[in-house]
């Protein structure tokens, strides 16, 4: 498997640990973890991860604002939202903002695996498809 470095963002310590562990068990590398949107933006800049998992309900800067911030830094960023029922509008807003996939809480490792693989296969950096001009700029 091509090595893939992931940034895990969630305001719950336990969730960060569980998702990180599940991703490591699947053979992915954890580039870093963040407990807030503000910190996630800093870490994204600093670590340039290949993929981000993002809790939709973060205190302060919420998940959608954080997705927008990350897409400003890198329009080809791959972001998966961690969400649930009751947050449909936020999920749709985050997808409009550039998120590529979603996983419902509680996170099931097999669903996480499927979603990460799908997002990597469909959207991985491929000059000419999704970066910069002619991509998702509207």
């Amino acid at each position: 498997m091509k090595s893939c470095r992931i940034l895990v963002v969630d305001d719950s310590l336990i969730t960060v640990r569980k998702i990180s562990q599940a991703l490591q068990d699947l053979g992915y590398e954890i580039a870093g973890t963040s407990l807030s949107g503000e910190d996630a933006l800093l870490k994204f800049r600093e670590l340039s991860p290949d993929l981000v998992t993002m809790d939709i309900t973060l205190p302060g800067m919420n998940g959608i604002e954080t997705v927008k911030g990350i897409m400003e830094i890198d329009p080809a960023a791959l972001i998966i939202m961690i969400t649930s029922h009751g947050q449909e509008q936020m999920v749709i807003d985050s997808i409009d903002a550039g998120a590529r996939g979603y996983v419902m809480k509680p996170v099931k490792p097999e669903i996480l695996k499927e979603t990460v693989e799908k997002v990597l296969a469909n959207y991985s950096v491929n000059p000419g498809s999704d970066t910069g001009l002619g991509g998702d700029r509207d």
Binding site: S12, T83, S84, V91, I95, P106, G128, G134, D136, D138
Partner: protein, 299 residues
Amino acid sequence: MIEGDLFKSLFDVIPFDIYVVDISNYEIIYMNRKMIEERGNFIGGRCYERIYGEESPCRFCKIPQVVDVETKRSLDKTVIFDLFNPVNDRWYQVQEKAMTWPDGRITKYSIAVDISELKETQNRLAEAHAELALKNKTLLKLSSTDSLTGLYNRMRIEEFLESAIYSARRYSRPFSLIMLDIDRFKEVNDGYGHLVGDEVLVRLAEILRTQLRKSDYAGRWGGEEFLIVTEDTDKESCALLAEKLRENVEATDFGSVKRVTISAGVAGFESGDDRVRLIRRVDEAMYRAKSAGRNRVEL
């Protein structure tokens, strides 16, 4: 207000998790029988550590919503919210309110109803919405992208042009256009085959992507012709940008074809312009560049 022993006797028989926390130090001072049986006895521990697995008070903590933080008095307000507990991976609907414990301490009580099964069913509905949003997005992208170059297709770039004309008229925001065409592209196709021709188009699109700014929109206008809409840019600055593109293309190694050049026309929006007039002007400028010997930019 329900107090002390009465609280205990009432809540020990209720089949939901109930616990009470001292708001001054987050100490758990009561748990009902059901919660102790299922989760263990955490009395004396901190709620954020024992119940939620955190190292410091939870970021979602509702104490500030049920107690006046200044006076430490109950706001007599009940809050209800859905909460995911990552310790046991269960969803709860939680009801919380402040109350005075018999010894006078101000506390917060929480009644947590496990809604995990309900959430599981509802999540399928949420998934359907999310999947639909993703599909829509893909559809929009497919319908607005040129499949070979990944740039916008003609339909989409025309839409950008229309919206730029609208902003220029309404808000007096200047914008300009570049029309560029690969010189002697027919010779590439005839001499090297269409696959090589396609590679040249893809390579050129990459140059546009890396050289253009965020406020520039590039689309494939037709065969080997590209149209670029540059927002908030007058025609002189736009001509400099076009010249930079021309130089960049000229300096690029196009593989088996080696060297490729482009001719570009530039036109700025002028009052009274519509799409047809503007395109005609930029097209004429491009043809002037061709007739003046190619590999050049004309205003």
